[in-house]
């Protein structure tokens, strides 16, 4: 039996730590700040792991209970409550584990930063928000967590708030997420409209009721209510999980410090959309149109965002594009109803992507805050621990057989191949070619950074740089090693139960007709056989081809890439400019809305509202106020007279009427 107090402790420990570090940061100092926050997150992690053990080993029933009723309005209960089943417990362990690693890592990374306590306060607050999100048993709390993680993300992207680029990036993230959240909120509103409840269980019980309804958004065209709701909810997921076309904020979010890129913009927050869709699987399963939409959006993201990683030179941005691409893979899995595969990939990705980010951060520390890969090279010799752990992360990312990423990604590709809903063929080609792309950009990063000539020796002016890179301190390398272990083995250990076993139980619901995972399971005969068999499949050879190409381009013949870039001029330019998404949004939405704003401002605000309503009414009120004030003459007989007048008026009105 899982007790409520345990769950409350899991959630509240990081919150209290965040408050201590944030509000009393000046008093408890740097050491105090990192001690309390690490202690808070460690408590959460240990208890989360214990909860997972209770659910898995001891067979405790899932918890679904309200903790506190905030208010009841129109029979809609707004509550704080926990739904902890195996899906939630898995997320809790992943979130708290990665968060713990990142907390420790931050001690080294932010060592000289004046905002040390603030940073720890924020990441602890983030952990609290994320736990609230995944543990919610109702839409209200889900939305609370959703917005809270968004807020912390905003604060952390703009952590170095004196940099204009950071402020631009956090505003961008905020605005783009607003678009997604708008859809999400409408989706929740739709759920409440049809079911009158915010509670997951009640809503899921009434899902047939929603499915029986249609609604008209454009007059004359009937829409399935369930399709509309699911697509709206998915728009929310698109914003948070950075799917095309709402992906533009994620690469820019790299303006934030690296630890949060690892924690928030790779391992946890951006997967909230994936988690949410998996949680809502009973709803999504009822609408094939919604699933197709999810599938196509995910496939597009998986392939085309990967392409962008091939040409970028900023080490963090390359990893950011790979995150986009991997999120696309997870979304594809959702689209083909392989929810368990999506969550499985979410888990393995959380480990190896956090690892890659932290390794990138370690390189950045070693290079004295240089992020351009063209100025690196040959670092293998100077930073061996970082190199080997990064290599493990890279192998997992490219799905080398046996690593954790291999099991999850191959399962997604196989599930996509087995799917038959509209868009599945397109998605299959996208995820298949994506394998080559992934392998190429990942090993491009490894080769440019760790192999080849030591380009950092000469800077732009041609004279020698005296800074030799050095391995990072233990607080940085220990988290790398701790993360490298699951990156390597977690897939092997858990693929059987999580993916093909009955791990999720009732937490995830799949219609029999959509059950692609079951079809993949027919060919699954244990992780060893799965890995061996992979050597004969197309994805494996595509991966090898990708790695080989990267080797030729960046180790063997480093002059080749620029020649090819020159040959493929327009295409290269298209990639270099990220398909012109930013320019398009700048021109259409940013400039357009500013122009619209300016028109409305001049016509509406200045003339009508400011002129007539605000200033006008303020003048009237002010004038009136002045006049009435004069009535307060200070003379007693005036006051008495006013009372008599009032009394007489009341008398006259009510008695003589």
């Amino acid at each position: 039996m899982i007790r409520q107090s345990v769950l409350l402790t899991i959630v509240l420990a990081p919150l209290i730590a965040a408050i201590l570090a944030g509000v009393f940061g000046r008093f408890i100092g740097r050491r105090g700040a990192h001690t309390v926050t690490i202690a808070g997150v460690a408590i959460s992690f240990v208890l989360s792991a214990w909860v997972l053990k209770l659910l898995l080993v001891d067979g405790a029933p899932p918890v679904n209970e309200a903790v506190y009723t905030w208010l009841v309005s129109d029979n809609i209960r707004m509550e704080v409550g926990f739904l902890v089943d195996r899906l939630t417990a898995l997320m809790m362990v992943v979130v708290t584990f990665v968060s713990l690693c990142v907390h420790v890592y931050t001690i080294g990374y932010m060592h000289d930063d004046p905002g040390y306590q603030r940073f720890f306060s924020y990441i602890s607050l983030f952990t609290f928000s994320m736990l609230m999100l995944v543990m919610a048993n109702n839409f209200m709390q889900l939305f609370f967590g959703w917005e809270a993680v968004g807020l912390v993300s905003y604060l952390l992207i703009g952590f170095w708030y004196t940099r204009p680029s950071a402020i631009f990036a956090n505003l961008k993230a905020f605005l783009v997420n607003r678009v997604g959240d708008f859809g999400f909120l409408l989706g929740i509103a739709g759920v409440v409209y049809f079911t009158g409840s915010l509670d997951y269980q009640t809503v899921f019980e009434q899902r047939e009721l929603i499915a029986a309804n249609t609604m008209q958004i454009i007059p004359g065209i009937e829409w399935q209510a369930i399709t509309v709701i699911c697509i709206l909810l998915f728009i929310g997921a698109m914003g948070k999980s950075a799917q095309v076309p709402l992906h533009v904020w994620l690469p820019d979010s790299m303006e934030g410090p690296t630890p949060i890129s690892a924690l928030i913009h790779a391992a946890t927050m951006v997967t909230a959309g994936i988690f949410m869709v998996a949680r809502m699987s009973p709803l999504f399963e009822l609408s094939e149109v919604a699933l197709s939409t999810v599938l196509v959006v995910g496939a597009t993201t998986a392939f085309f965002m990967g392409l962008l990683g091939m040409v970028n030179n900023d080490i963090k941005r390359v990893v950011a594009y790979s995150t986009l691409s991997q999120l696309g893979y997870m979304t594809v899995a959702l689209g083909v109803s392989a929810y368990s595969a999506a969550i499985f990939h979410l888990m393995t990705h959380a480990f190896f992507k956090a690892l890659l980010f932290l390794a990138a951060g370690s390189v950045i520390i070693g290079m004295h805050h240089e992020q351009d890969m063209r100025k690196m090279g040959g670092l293998k010799k100077y930073m061996p621990i970082t190199y080997w752990t990064a290599l493990i992360g890279a192998l997992a990312l490219v799905a080398f057989p046996g690593t954790s990423g291999f099991f999850s990604k191959d399962a997604i590709i196989a599930a996509t191949a087995a799917a038959s809903i509209p868009g599945a063929t397109y998605a299959y080609w996208c995820v298949l070619l994506g394998v080559f792309v992934t392998a190429f950009y990942t090993f491009r990063l490894i080769f440019m950074t760790f192999e080849g000539p030591e380009r950092f020796r000469t800077d732009a002016h041609g004279h020698h740089d005296s800074h030799t890179p050095h391995e990072s301190p233990w607080v940085v390398t220990v988290p790398l090693i701790v993360l490298a272990v699951p990156s390597l083995v977690i897939g092997w250990l858990t693929v059987q139960p999580v993916l093909f076993g009955d791990y999720f139980g009732t937490a995830i619901f799949v219609e029999a007709a959509h059950d692609t995972v079951a079809r993949v399971a027919e060919t699954f005969h244990g992780p060893g056989a799965f890995s061996l068999h992979a050597l004969l499949t197309v994805p494996f050879w595509l991966m090898v081809a990708g790695v080989a190409t990267a080797w030729v381009f960046y180790v063997k013949k480093p002059e080749l890439p620029s020649q090819i870039a020159a040959r493929l001029g327009p295409l290269y330019k298209l990639l270099e400019n990220k398909f012109y998404f930013d320019e398009l949004y700048q021109a259409v939405f940013a400039r357009g809305s500013r122009r619209l704003g300016s028109v409305l401002w001049r016509a509406g605000d200045v003339a009508l509202i400011d002129g007539a309503i605000v200033n006008g009414s303020a003048h009237v009120v002010g004038w009136f106020s002045g006049v009435l004030r004069r009535l307060q003459s200070g003379y007693l007989y005036h006051y008495a007279f006013a009372m008599i007048i009032g009394l007489s008026a009341l008398l006259a009105w009510y008695v003589l009427r």
């Binding site: 009120v621 004030r629 009372m643 009341l650």
Partner: protein
């Protein structure tokens, strides 16, 4: 012997009057340096009253003294809240009084007598008992306003308060007497029964107008509000604090006991009258407050507007409405003692801190107390998640429930106008330069209680159910 007259229902009052006599006697023999004993005794008295009320608490209506006196759950809740309010007022007042050589027994003794008046009103079962309570409270307050004998302004406002209060009491009593003439009883529960069978309401309405005028005066509602700004402004700040807090509870209970219990059958009539008074109060209070530069005067007009909101709940004439009004009263009292407490916190020798400009740049001097004032002002303006927001929501919902949508819309409109002058205080604190560099001199107790006061506004706003449940228990 206690049981014969049901005296234990009035145990707290009996205890209070006995200890008032003790405090009065002890105070006579104290030198000025030992005056803290009076202060401590007063606080102990309040604690004793709370203990009495808690231990003799009732679960249902009990009458005593042949029905002149009633004890009910609502009374217990209101009394306990009054003790707390008076205690906080005393604690806030101490530093200020000491610094100005006003630290005398009068303030505390008169305060306790006023409390006795409030308690008598709370437990009144008869129109005469009501009147007794009203006068006991009023006379104490008149004297309190004037107790700084050096100040001519205070004397002037005490005089105004007394004369106008006497007129209002006269109106109230006149209304009662006509009521007695028609119904033949002063007993509130009997009155309610008798009035149901009265044929021609013309005489009743005549009496009702006078009673309403009296009640509105005690509330400080327009057009019987003229005393409020002058008295708030003229009285020493601790007295203003006192007047602005606990007596509001008595005004609320006056309305509930007389109108809701006694004159229940005339609800249609007094609802109309209260609508007019409420709208005028919200309008005049909010609009005139904008033109004020003195914070005490501004808060006086703000009180007038809040009274309009409390009346909204009462005029709904439903149990939900009374509950909402009660909740609003509690919320208002918490915010009001906090706001005046802030003035007392900043005040020092030769500096009253009662102008809005005196709050300039407070954020530089003390970010924490600027934040406390910010919370108080936001709450008073009705910004979520503070308590003032829920109070407004409750009364507006009560009015909506009885189908007065236009009135609800007006209330919202006036609270928007009102937001202006509260936000101005915030603006001055955060965006203007401080005019001096003198630090806050107030003592630790004041700081601590005021901090709790500010936090209460936030916490009770985030967890509104605490206070709402209390109101539900009082008025089930």
């Amino acid at each position: 012997m206690f049981d014969n007259f049901g005296m234990q229902a009035a145990a707290a009052e009996i205890f209070l009057i006995a200890t008032i006599c003790v405090v009065l006697l002890v105070d006579v023999f104290l030198s000025d340096s030992k005056r803290w004993i009076t202060y401590a005794l007063s606080l102990l008295t309040l604690a004793g009253c709370a203990w009495m009320t808690l231990s003799y608490g009732v679960n249902e209506r009990v009458s005593a003294f042949s029905g002149m006196y009633v004890a009910d759950p609502m009374g217990d809740v209101l009394k306990l809240f009054s003790y707390a309010t008076v205690a906080v007022s005393f604690i806030y007042a101490r530093d200020y009084l000491q610094r100005r050589a006003l630290f005398k027994g009068e303030y505390f003794v008169l305060g306790l007598v006023a409390l006795l008046g409030i308690m008598v009103m709370i437990s009144a079962g008869n129109l005469l008992t009501v009147y007794l309570g009203v006068e006991l409270l009023s006379l104490s307050l008149y004297a309190m306003v004037a107790f700084d004998r050096e100040s001519t302004v205070a004397a002037e406002s005490a005089m105004k308060y007394f004369v106008l209060g006497a007129i209002a009491s006269g109106m109230l009593l006149y209304g009662f007497s006509i009521m007695y003439g028609i119904a033949g009883t002063l007993q509130l529960d009997e009155l309610a029964v008798e009035l149901r069978s009265v044929e021609s309401p013309i005489g009743l309405v005549f009496a009702l107008v006078f009673i309403i005028a009296g009640v509105a005066f005690k509330f400080g509602a327009v057009p019987f509000h003229m005393w409020v700004p002058d008295v708030y402004h003229g009285a020493p700040t601790p007295v203003t604090l006192f007047i602005g807090a606990a007596p509001k509870i008595s005004s609320f209970v006056l309305a509930v006991r007389v109108l809701a219990e006694g004159l229940d059958s005339l609800v249609a009539n007094w609802q109309d009258m209260l609508i007019v008074i409420s709208v005028l109060s919200m309008a005049i209070g909010n609009i005139v407050a904008i033109a004020q530069t003195n914070l005490k005067r501004m808060l006086a007009y703000s009180t007038v507007s809040h009274v309009g909101f409390i009346l909204l709940g009462i005029l709904a004439g439903t149990n939900d409405g009374y509950r909402a009004a009660m909740y609003y009263t509690f919320a208002y009292v918490i915010m009001s003692v906090g706001s005046f407490g802030m003035i007392l916190l900043l005040a020092r020798e030769g500096f009253e801190a009662d102008r809005i400009d005196d709050f300039r740049g407070l954020n530089r001097k003390s970010p924490w107390f600027a934040a406390v004032m910010l919370m108080l002002m936001f709450s008073t303006a009705g910004v979520p998640p503070f308590i003032g927001f829920w109070a407004k929501v409750e009364v507006i919902a009560a009015v909506l429930d009885v189908g007065l949508a236009w009135l609800a819309a007006l209330a919202v409109l006036f609270s928007v106008i009102g937001a202006f002058y509260y936000l101005r205080v915030v603006k001055v604190m955060y965006f203007d330069e401080p005019t001096d560099t003198v630090d806050i001199q107030a003592g630790g107790t004041l700081r601590a209680v005021l901090s709790l006061n500010g936090l209460a506004v936030l916490v009770l706003g985030i967890v509104p159910s605490v206070l709402i449940d209390l109101c539900v228990r009082a008025l089930p």
